[in-house]
Symmetry: C2
Subunit: 192 residues, 2 copies
DNA sequence: GGGAATGCCTAATGGCCATAGGCTGTCGGC
DNA sequence: GCCGACAGCCTATGGCCATTAGGCATTCCC
């Protein structure tokens, strides 16, 4: 019996793969152990508990998403940058649904410390540089952007669009277009 | 031993209360049974299985939210209506976190059929009537609105704002303001 | 008063997380 | 080349959960 050479990273990676295949909720220590040809308790040498495993997936996903986004918006500004930013999000959600799902929960210590979150904020701000949004409004704009993009993908994923007509594709385009328009004329004062 | 007079509705209502107190994930047949002073298997007379129970909560929450929104936007139009619409959402999320959480998942048969979903769409369209958004764009606008509001509340709830400065309150206001501006100048053509 | 239906119960199965403690092969020090 | 420590996996166990099967009492209608 060869040593399986398990490491924390390997366990987390396999768990992430399982999440993509069977859904985030299907990520269970037992299931991962089965996939790795090992008994469940053995995993506790590499992972503190289930929560830590899930948090590890979150950290991994955060890093991967940041990487994709960085590559996507490099060399772009303004609307093209925004579109690349949004598309990177959406493709990540579609291609790695389990990992994406792992981002939609209260992040634990590991994930927060991993720096991926900070990186995401930095990247979002980079997109904003191409728009006439004043510095002191950036935080708000970052939040609106994150809310809308994540919210849209969550709705799409949970089937919120299955019962009305036009394709999600079309609405997605309109949504990004709307965000572009919004950033271009960011409301500053207190207009009545 | 008095007959507890359990009904499907009573079980679902108690489950919803539990969800608000302990989180949606804490809604377990065992826990609900304990609260009702009954053994877990007894609940199967009223509820098909756990999934049906959760779906029941979703249907209940959908109806309650629609009711709140209807009351909030009655007699208002334009920006006040939008603000009332958004506020109703947020207050629901803050006051009934478990019920709100139940809306953030793939809805099952019961919830879909309950008509609450359709009612929500109708109410959102009602808000749009106060804005110069062309009819054929309403679907998209409904989706953008839903995405942003839900997305914001999800982010707020999952602590996404805990690590940066300004209060969520402020950003929330800015977000609603931004949506107002967006609807007022909804991008129609294909502006380059 | 009898019988069926209603509504709760106990018993039992199987899955999951988690802890405790045991076994084995590998490797550094001598 | 031997020995002890340690790394890394194992079995055994306990507790909680969902779900099914089958039993017992109360109620209500005839």
């Amino acid at each position: 019996m060869e040593r399986a050479a398990l490491t924390t990273a390997a366990v987390v990676a396999d768990a992430a793969a399982l999440a993509d295949q069977a859904g985030f909720d299907a990520v269970t220590l037992s299931a991962v152990a089965r996939r790795l040809g090992v008994r469940a308790p053995s995993l506790y040498s590499h992972v503190r508990d289930r929560e830590a495993l899930l948090d590890g997936i979150t950290a991994l996903a955060l890093g991967e998403l940041a990487e994709r986004i960085a590559a996507a918006i490099a060399g772009r500004a303004g609307r093209p940058a925004l579109e690349a930013f949004a598309t990177a999000h959406r493709e990540f959600a579609l291609q790695a649904p389990g990992r994406w799902q792992s981002l939609q929960r209260r992040a634990g210590e590991i994930a927060v410390r991993s720096g991926g979150a900070r990186q995401m904020v930095t990247l979002t701000r980079a997109v904003l540089r191409g728009y006439p949004v004043p510095q002191d409004q950036h935080v708000h704009a970052v939040r609106v952007l994150g809310s809308t993009i994540n919210g849209y993908l969550a709705l799409e994923r949970s089937g919120g669009f299955n019962h009305s007509a036009p394709s999600p594709e079309l609405s997605w385009h309109k949504t990004v277009q709307a965000l572009d328009a919004l950033l271009n004329s960011w409301p500053t004062g207190n207009p009545s």
